[in-house]
Amino acid sequence: MTAVLLQSVSLWRRTQEELSYDLKRTILHVLERRYRRPPRRRVLHNISLQIERGEKVGIIGPNGSGKSTLLKLICGILTPTKGHVYVSGRIAPLIELGAGFDADITVADNIVYYGVMLGFSKKEMQGRIDPILDFAELAEYRNEPLKTLSSGMVTRLGFAIATEQRPEILILDEVLSVGDESFKIKCMQRIQDFWDHSSTIIVVSHDMTFIAAQCSRAVWLEHGEIVYAGPASQVTQLYLESVYGDQTTPLGNSHSLSSDAEVLGTSG
């Protein structure tokens, strides 16, 4: 059973340059005949990926290679310019935890509000306020406005809400390192529980040891394209070799390894 399927997905995005942000300047540029269409940049190119239910897939690559963008495509936040994204099952997106809350309303209201945004009903969420507060260890802040919480507490709350119900697909974007030590252990336990209970997990991380140990497969992205996809240990090894320029196995000579790697990309 396939949980996530990407069919030759490409994404072009507008570059956030200053010109397009200003009506006055746009009008003046049109009048001076200096206006040009805002440029677009190719962020992802021809990504094909099939993730089966229960698989744990790590996404690796340098900064700006499109890892987080790929997660946003899978979450449905971004729409591909070309190609298709198919997702089956409820997604818990753990991206930028702590963003998107309303600082002016109470913690309890934020839980309900955020839960409804995530796709639960209001009634459901009202019954979940207490377990969520318990997990986040914020019970005494229940009726305080959210702005009284520290940023670490807000992150804890975000994690607790998003993971309150075991998701079918869990999307992790480097969130494993947030919170204080004791909470980190709690997060890891909960994620481990998802890990053990056949949730599909897609994780972006720079921690190669973690990816190699915890994921069954890994996808190496660079400049928005898949460089290698295959067993996690092999892909992470190849990636590290390319980064550190290991003389014994430079990337160009590693054909034997790449042919061993089960290629995830399915064309078309």
Binding site: Y21, D22, G83, V85, A99
Partner: protein, 291 residues
Amino acid sequence: MTKTEPQTPEIRPMENSKPSGQVRRRSRIGRIEGFTYQRWLDLTLILAMRALKVRYRGSILGIYWSLSNPLLMTLVYTAIFGTAFSSYYNNSIINYVLACFVGLTVLTYFSAATGQSLPSVVGNGSLLNKIKLPFSIFPCATIAANTFQFSVGTLPLLAVITAFNSHSVVNVVSLLAPTVALVLVACGVSFITSSLFVFFRDLPYIYDLIVFVIYMSSPTFYPAALIPVSVKPLIALNPIASIIECFRQIALSGQPPALHLLVLSLATGLSFFAIGVAIFAFLKTEFMDLL
């Protein structure tokens, strides 16, 4: 790396589509931006409730606070222009006060609702970057919150004025028509401004100016008879002016509702709504690049 020509986007089935082999495309009928009506409504309502909660902090009387603005302005206008203009209102200051107040409540609603909607999509950019949500819920929730406030605060007062002047249930009930038209215009304008604000971040300054033009060109604190005939066609472009006229005719004239005014204001409302929806739908595909 930088190439210019983007490809055409394709419709993408999500949620419960079965990906393995038999890919089922979801019908777009019965959905708003890919969400079911029920989910769209849930989201809009919770956002509207949140807005009201933040605004009134648990005090229901806070809703009546929204009346203080038009009341105070009516007072000021009456003090300054009341005597001078009362000859246009059958030499009655009371008539001037009522005409002024009815016009100002409509304008207050319009400028508050559209002004708060303008930054609504951009303001929720961080949320939109985390969770897949329909964009339209943000301006719609602002409109819903303001409409609730209007219905609870202003509308009963207008109903009392209408009942007092016309002694007719028909007039009181037909107040709903210009109200619907007003909400539709506000919705349409909000769709336009909230989507344009994503691309043009200097829009609030320009929009303030537009609101001022609408404010001055609606005959609220001055009689419409003062407007020179040559300028009148331009005033007709102001969507709020016709709605105010409709409200006044129903509430103050003592006559049965004039059908042509009802039709005109509803038509204005529907056309603004349609234009707004079209612009929003056209621009929303690029929102995420700039949020």
